[in-house]
């Protein structure tokens, strides 16, 4: 009886862990931890585009024209775009502890930190954090990127999933009317 219970418990735990493991393997992070911060934000921009959405509208987005081929290549590699951008009216609206749950996910295998800047001043609200991580798939290809800029009163988080490089994203941005400089800063 005890063994059966133990086996049932083990299966339940294993079942619960499967989505976490799958999520960790494709460069997609769980950003739901930021939902409570969103409630406190005075201004917020949230974008959640999964692979199905991106695929279904790709032909409509990419009209023939300059840069269309590069943009098509960029879009075909994307499997998800998740962005959270919050502004708060108080410097005490959130702390590093509020973003710890997200950063903890970046310790999973495959994630590599390539840029990091963490500053802590004397005061409790005198801190900031900038980090960029790349996710490397098991086949060695890039599977995603995570960018965070956290300052008192402002938080930006970007998680782009898929096989791409930042220069091809720049081409896609150009088609959408954004200057071709995405990724210039970290190349």
């Amino acid at each position: 009886m005890k063994a059966t219970l133990r086996a049932t418990f083990a299966i339940a735990v294993f079942t619960l862990l499967i989505p976490v493991a799958a999520s960790a393997q494709d460069g997609k992070l769980n950003l739901s931890f930021l939902d409570r911060l969103a409630e406190r934000a005075t201004e917020k921009q949230e974008v959640t585009l999964d692979e199905q959405m991106l695929r279904s509208v790709a032909p409509g987005i990419l009209k023939p024209g300059p840069g269309a081929d590069a943009a098509r290549q960029a879009l075909s590699g994307l499997r998800g775009v998740y962005v959270r951008n919050y502004e708060f009216d108080s410097d005490k609206a959130y702390s590093m502890d509020d973003i710890a749950a997200i950063r903890k996910q970046l310790s999973a295998p495959g994630w590599m930190k390539i840029v990091s800047n963490e500053e802590k001043g004397k005061g409790p609200n005198d801190w900031e954090l900038q980090e960029i991580y790349f996710f490397k798939q098991q086949d060695g290809k890039s599977g995603g990127i995570f960018i965070i800029n956290a300052e008192p009163g402002e938080l930006s988080v970007v998680n782009i999933v898929g096989t791409f490089d930042l220069s091809t994203l720049g081409a896609l941005g150009g088609v959408l009317g954004i200057p071709h400089n995405i990724g210039n800063s970290v190349r």
Partner: protein, 112 residues
């Protein structure tokens, strides 16, 4: 010639039973024999065919409207995703620029 024309166009009194005959024909629903209107044929003559034709027109109209609505929905969805993608890439661009600024500044310049 003038005489013949005058006789032909001369006003004649209608037969006394003309009104009765016309009413009887209307009530019986029969077509006058040898009239100038040709007998209607095809779908109009058969009520079932008439209903089928109406149903076909309705189906085509509804189908066309549905297709138009679907296309409008698809266009709206494409525009929405395009705008969201534009916003996402804009924020990505701004965030990367912010990180670039921070890491390129000397620590002293940051006032810490």
């Amino acid at each position: 010639m003038d005489r013949e024309l005058h006789d032909a166009l001369q006003r004649k009194q209608a037969p006394d039973d003309l009104a009765d005959r016309v009413l009887a024909r209307i009530n019986s629903g029969t077509q006058p024999q040898g009239g100038t209107q040709p007998a209607r044929a095809g779908a109009g003559a058969n009520p079932v065919l008439r209903w089928l034709a109406a149903a076909a027109v309705l189906a085509i109209t509804v189908g066309g409207a549905e297709r138009y609505y679907t296309q409008q929905q698809q266009a709206a969805e494409t525009a929405r995703v395009k705008e969201e993608l534009r916003v996402a890439l804009q924020i990505t661009n701004n965030t990367l620029a912010r990180v670039q600024d921070k890491i390129s500044q000397p620590a002293d310049a940051r006032g810490r």
